[in-house]
Assembly symmetry: C2
Homo-oligomer: 140 residues x 2
DNA sequence: AAATAAACGCAACAATGTTGCAGTTATTGT
DNA sequence: ACAATAACTGCAACATTGTTGCGTTTATTT
């Protein structure tokens, strides 16, 4: 577990002005190593058993990381949040893809649609959340 | 509760080949009368107390109505499903708007974006789910 | 009016996430 | 290096939303 992601994770956390605890570093390292957005459950499974990490601590660490903009939270139709480390491209709004068979979830490129959406009069636009559903390469 | 929506609801249900029970009719009538997509909880509140309706029955009725395409289910970031009666325009995919303050949720016009989305090679497109977030007229 | 499949109500369960609080720990200042 | 302290953690208990199994009731058909 003490790989490049760990080092990066620790730097990012310190840079954000929070305490660099083992839990936060480990969690962020896992998310940095991952190509897809993964669930709380999946993070738990990847987390080394030896180190122990409470469910609640995981939830709180994720919340903190999201608040510091180091990761982002993705809504899904299965009522489960998925998390993904932020890269440069994620600082902007982007779409997500979800496989309807295996539930894999990846980030797509920036939103090619205009940010101003035709809303009813008096409504104010804030952001767009877009999920494309289909089959991933493995499930096709 | 025995208004025009009740009559319409009953017709729609019979036309779909299901048993026209008080629960289904009442639920569909509520959804037909509503401009926005509402939650299971909100349906329960609008349902006349005198008539009693079990939580489970409500869930099952909603599932059935969605299966028959009389209503549709909307995903939201608060992990709660919202339901809305289908009109002609809803037979096509459409976007939803959600107020970030009062959680009101309405349907927007058809998706103006092309159905084929730039996916990675080997991926297959199925559908798009799009939610615009912002403030509704009341909350602005 | 009886027969019957469909729908319902209840109880119990499952999954995901949250809150309160006492104990532990990373960091800061000396 | 050490003590002080705010920040973080772990546990237990809870909340919310939705699901399953099963015996009972009911809308529809004949």
């Amino acid at each position: 577990m003490f790989n490049e992601f760990h080092t990066t994770a620790e730097e990012l956390i310190r840079h954000s002005g929070g305490r660099a605890t083992a839990g936060r570093i480990g969690i962020l390292a896992i998310l940095l190593a991952e190509q897809q957005a993964i669930t709380h459950r999946e993070i738990e499974q990847r987390y080394p058993e030896a180190l122990q990490l409470d469910r609640v601590t995981l939830y709180r660490a994720l919340e903190w990381l999201a608040g510091k903009n180091l990761i982002h939270k993705v809504t899904s139709d299965d009522r489960v949040w998925r998390y993904h480390a932020n890269r440069e491209l994620h600082s902007h709004q982007h779409a997500h893809f979800k496989c309807t068979r295996c539930a894999q979830m990846i980030c797509l490129s920036d939103l090619p649609i205009d940010q101003s959406w035709p809303l009813p009069i008096g409504y104010r636009f804030q952001e767009i959340e877009l999920t494309v559903k289909g089959l991933c390469a493995d499930c096709c």
